[in-house]
Subunit: 253 residues, 2 copies
């Protein structure tokens, strides 16, 4: 029995706009190696698997500041090419500012997802300056035994493995669930941040524009105002906030 570990690492990028007076545009990113695979680690006989995952991340970024949780364990014919293998995937969130290093073979890719009209198919584009990966992934309703299940399938062959696309898909779904029920959003940001930055994190994960007036009210109990201000855009400076430690939403496994 062969057992492996796997990392789906999310981060965000701040991109300058052409119009320099506008806010930087945040994008959700994922880390892939030179073969468009997720970073893998070998599960050793002498260490607990989660600790091994953490050590691998520390090795990649030379930092101990990141969020980690188990995503899923793959060993299902639906998703797996080889029999007799098990792959445990961990979901990781890093703030780029906490990264001290990045191996040459690993690169962050912007994630862009477009829903195809009147289908359950999504067109996904992973891109950076050097490379552009495109694929389409469909959500299929599978009626099996006592219930229904949602499966994902890669509908067009691409230069990325089906399992990788499914893990990315599953990871984003998990982010969406977590961002509504926990405080993971703050893992993308510095200790101090503007409300608009937090809102951008919500927007890129939920993939929709939010009305800032309503967003403020919603997250108000989660954050604490500081005395500092910051000038992100060319206009009115924004107040810096920190996470309100008193407010901890119960997380649901």
């Amino acid at each position: 029995m062969k057992i492996q570990g796997n990392l789906i690492i999310f981060s965000t990028n701040n991109e300058e706009r052409k119009d320099v007076r506008r806010l930087k545009e945040k994008k959700l990113q994922v880390l892939l190696d030179e073969n468009n695979n997720l970073p893998i680690f070998e599960v050793s006989k002498n260490e607990y698997i989660r600790r091994t995952a953490e050590r691998k991340i520390e090795e990649i970024f030379k930092t101990k500041k990141f969020y980690i949780e188990q995503l899923y364990t793959w060993g299902n014919p639906e998703f797996y090419t080889e029999e007799n293998e098990i792959l445990v995937t961990y979901l990781v969130i890093v703030n780029k500012k906490n990264i001290n290093d990045l191996p040459e073979n690993l690169n962050f890719y912007d994630i862009s997802i477009k829903n195809k009209e009147n289908t359950t198919t999504q067109h996904v584009e992973l891109s950076n300056e050097k490379k552009n990966i495109q694929y389409e992934i469909a959500t299929i309703l599978k009626r099996n035994r006592e219930s229904v299940e949602y499966l994902n399938r890669l509908v067009k062959k691409s230069n990325i493995s089906e399992l990788t696309t499914i893990i990315i898909h599953t990871g984003i779904k998990r982010l969406r669930n977590r961002i509504e029920n926990t405080n993971i959003a703050f893992s993308f940001l510095d200790k101090e941040f503007a409300v608009s930055e937090l809102q951008q994190v919500y927007e890129i994960i939920l993939d929709k524009k939010l009305i800032s007036a309503n967003f403020r009210k919603k997250i108000e109990p989660m954050i604490k105002r500081t005395d500092k201000v910051i000038k992100e855009s060319a206009y009115r400076p924004s107040v810096q906030y920190t996470f309100n430690e008193d407010y901890i939403k119960k997380s649901v496994l």
Copy 2:
């Protein structure tokens, strides 16, 4: 590297009341072996792990009618006694009426949970006619690295392993999450059921009384009325409903 599988199997029991004119009282149940452990299966070299889990369940109950999903993979020093082991847990729901057999060493236990006032500790009692297992489990907030995490710990030694109590706890949390977001509640019931039966499933999983008028309105789009009626109590018969196949809530992994 040793790898094993594990099953947390939930079901419900219909208990007669002393007052025979009242409705049978549903209770949430879990399946344990004679040593108070969850059913284990060995992961073979020749089969996918989920399929192995399904085969084990079919072997236990002599039925193919059950709900299954992966719960969690344990291999963390926090929860595990032995190093160098991995345990993949699957969550299962069965309707007793679909069970054709049950090995002698396996028994269902009623689950009763009481929150201890002003603490995050819960007193749990697992009981049937022959046996009674009691323990207390605490939820501990652990601040680690970039975020907070909830851990569970067995606070009083008991004749049940800590890992088993944590898996039961995690399983119930998962049921609570799923019952609000998917249609798993129906896996506990027959194809045709009364609204009050469905309500009882919600009540035992969420562990609180619901107001039936509001419950009806909430689940109305999920169910379809049939022509049949059933007399569960000694009083007014109730209309039989089925699951409305048109209504399928998106499940979130």
